[in-house]
Symmetry: C2
Subunit: 139 residues, 2 copies
DNA sequence: TGTTGACTTAGACACTGTCTAATGTAGGGT
DNA sequence: ACCCTACATTAGACAGTGTCTAAGTCAACA
């Protein structure tokens, strides 16, 4: 996390209290918070931080490639600090739990050229949907 | 499309002018409109149709399995009448064009059981991202 | 320590989707 | 053909998510 702050300083970022707390909230594994969840956690650390600053900071972190945007449902985007390790997502339809997962094989290669319609492929997002053990048990 | 209307009548639906025009707008291949795009096209056919009715009708068609919801970006959901044929989507990052595509292999099998964390898998949504031939050419 | 341009803020605004109360009507019963 | 009435539609308020602006603030550097 302080690695992140060091990288940002090298890129000319002013290190404000607000940016520090956003970085702090995003520190960890399997973190997939919405912008408003990040704002709520940031407010607990720095009460006067505004929603606009959280949105601004997240947008900048995404542009810099330090955080990924994930849209697993049709609702709010989620912000994922795990950029080191290419991964996909497994989502519980019932409780919304999200896990990072690593499918086998080359996902891009799975799309035959006859199905590419002349597109240049840049990436692929996969969302596996199911029920987590807890929710399946409560059936 | 009249097949669709016949199925809906059998399920006890009242066939109103509004429902007919929504069905008509959704008739076709590679159709992936947002609710408001569907509303705009429906208004051209039946000027007094309301946004609420379009949303209501789409929600019912989804519940009945006659239309699929697709979330390819973090924006508005899109409605896909192509339910006969299981498929995934290829999206142009630049212009937003969407194509139906058919990846090879079993996508669910691509997630090893060691990566399932006890979840019961129900489905998988794949979005291939790239640039269409036109947009890549304009680079 | 003073200066300055980048940063933050509150709140307005836009887009997407849901809900309600009042009104309209499709389709079965007569 | 006409009535009923339960179901459908409507306008607009409201909620969630995200963007933008204008005014005030401050981190970094000299
Ligand atoms: Mn992740
Ligand atoms: Mn489709
Ligand atoms: Zn669950
Ligand atoms: Zn394109």
């Amino acid at each position: 996390m302080s690695d992140l702050l060091a990288r940002l300083r090298e890129r000319g970022w002013r290190l404000t209290a607000q940016r520090r707390v956003v970085a702090q909230v995003l520190d960890g594994e399997h973190v997939h918070y919405t912008a408003d969840e990040i704002h709520a956690r940031a407010v607990a650390l720095l009460p006067e931080i505004s929603r606009a600053t959280v949105y601004n900071t997240l947008g900048e972190l995404v542009s810099l490639g330090e955080v990924l945007e994930v849209s697993t449902d049709g609702r709010a985007k989620r912000y994922d600090p795990n950029t080191h390790d290419a991964h996909q997502h497994l989502v519980c339809e019932s409780c919304g739990a999200i896990r990072d997962v690593h499918p086998s094989g080359d996902l891009i290669a799975g799309l035959p050229s006859s199905e590419r319609f002349g597109f240049t492929l840049l990436g692929v997002d996969v969302t596996y949907r199911g029920l987590c053990a807890d929710c399946a048990g409560r059936a």
